[in-house]
């Protein structure tokens, strides 16, 4: 057990104990806040079906292997470990697929290789943008994301590019 395992339990304790100290009727207030949980998830559901069906079909098609084959020499030519580049494509689209890809890199090169370190930095620098947008917009039933997706993907590109350069600087 590490320190980070204690954060959530201690935080929950602090909230409930602190609420009691402030004379909040903690049980009743908790129920009041929690009652909408299911309703919200019901609103998110169709958005998640749309997103996950598309992501699963893309993964199952083997398109990633094509992307990897195409990107590896490009990366090597630019002076980066080419094997990590498909991660830049996967990371915004699917969290589980990106985790799986990083695991594969760890097994092939080791977590402390330049490939493993770069992949880790890439994973730590952005989120699964499409999933986050689907969940948050789904929760309020918004179908038109305006420029949220575009701006999110541009930020991802910036973060992933930065991850490549910073990793080369630190570990190259």
């Amino acid at each position: 057990m590490s320190w980070s395992d204690l954060v959530i339990p201690l935080f929950v304790c602090a909230i409930v104990a602190g609420g009691m100290a402030k004379r909040v009727p903690v049980y009743a207030v908790f129920i009041e806040g929690a009652k909408d949980g299911l309703k919200i998830v019901g609103r998110i559901f169709p958005y998640l079906v749309a997103m996950l069906v598309a992501v699963e079909s893309f993964q199952a098609s083997g398109a990633l292997a094509w992307i990897e084959k195409a990107l590896t020499p490009v990366g090597a030519w630019l002076g980066f470990p080419g094997e990590v580049l498909p991660l830049g494509f996967l990371r915004p689209v699917s969290g589980t697929a990106a985790m799986g890809y990083m695991q594969m890199i760890f097994e092939r090169f080791g977590p402390d290789s330049i490939q493993g370190l770069t992949a880790s930095v890439m994973m730590g620098s952005t989120e699964t943008t499409l999933y986050t947008v689907s969940v948050y917009l789904g929760a309020v039933s918004i179908r038109k994301p305006s420029y949220a997706v575009k701006a999110g993907l541009i930020a991802d590109m910036a973060g992933l590019t930065a991850a490549l350069f910073v990793s080369r600087l630190f570990f190259g």
């Binding site: 129920i31 929690a34 977590p111």
Partner: protein
């Protein structure tokens, strides 16, 4: 934008799969995707209810407003459309704090709460508002200070220097968040000009 991404992933995937002779796998993948949405929703429902209940306790104890007041200066610049003291500011502060501390499963329900509050201020309820876009970009670009999940994962894979990525990841995520904020405020200005 969402149309294009969805069509590329879905139709691109099906086309490539069919060309590679993976008809059975593709059928399975489509059904699996739909089922995984159910699994995710079930997991999310419980976590959502838990954190929303806890958030309500924190709100009634006055801590949410206290945090929002403390972050008020910065947040007001990022979200000029949200009036000071509006409950949306409280929910946004809670979400960003949870994100920074790496409490991912608390951050999502708090973020949903923030979206609901921002929807009340939204003048065209079928489209994401400028405040929502800024909020989404800050969330998707990850404002986590220490990527605990990745560090644990590296540790489990037998890394001798699992924590070596903390500083580089912090630099990279700062880049993505700053670029995200800049791009979102740029788009905001462009869409205002077009609308005027």
């Amino acid at each position: 934008m969402m149309d294009i991404i969805w069509v590329i992933l879905l139709l691109g995937g099906i086309a490539i799969g069919v060309i590679s002779g993976k008809g059975t796998e593709m059928t399975q993948a489509l059904m699996d995707g739909a089922s995984r949405a159910v699994e995710l929703c079930v997991r999310l429902a419980g976590v959502c209810a838990l954190w929303m209940g806890l958030m309500e306790i924190m709100r009634r104890a006055g801590w949410v407003d206290a945090l929002a007041r403390r972050l008020g200066g910065v947040l007001h610049r990022l979200f000029p459309d949200i009036p000071a003291g509006h409950p949306a500011m409280g929910a946004i502060s809670m979400n960003l704090a949870a994100n920074m501390l790496g409490m991912g499963n608390a951050a999502t329900p708090l973020g949903i709460k923030a979206m609901e509050q921002m929807q009340r201020l939204n003048t065209s309820p079928d489209t994401a508002s400028a405040a929502m876009c800024m909020f989404l970009v800050m969330n998707t670009s990850s404002v986590q200070l220490i990527p605990t999940g990745i560090i644990n994962f590296r540790h489990a894979a037998g890394s001798a220097q699992a924590g070596a990525i903390v500083l580089p990841a912090l630099i990279a995520t700062t880049c993505s968040t700053l670029v995200g904020i800049l791009v979102a405020s740029l788009f905001r200005r462009l869409s205002r000009r077009r609308g005027a």
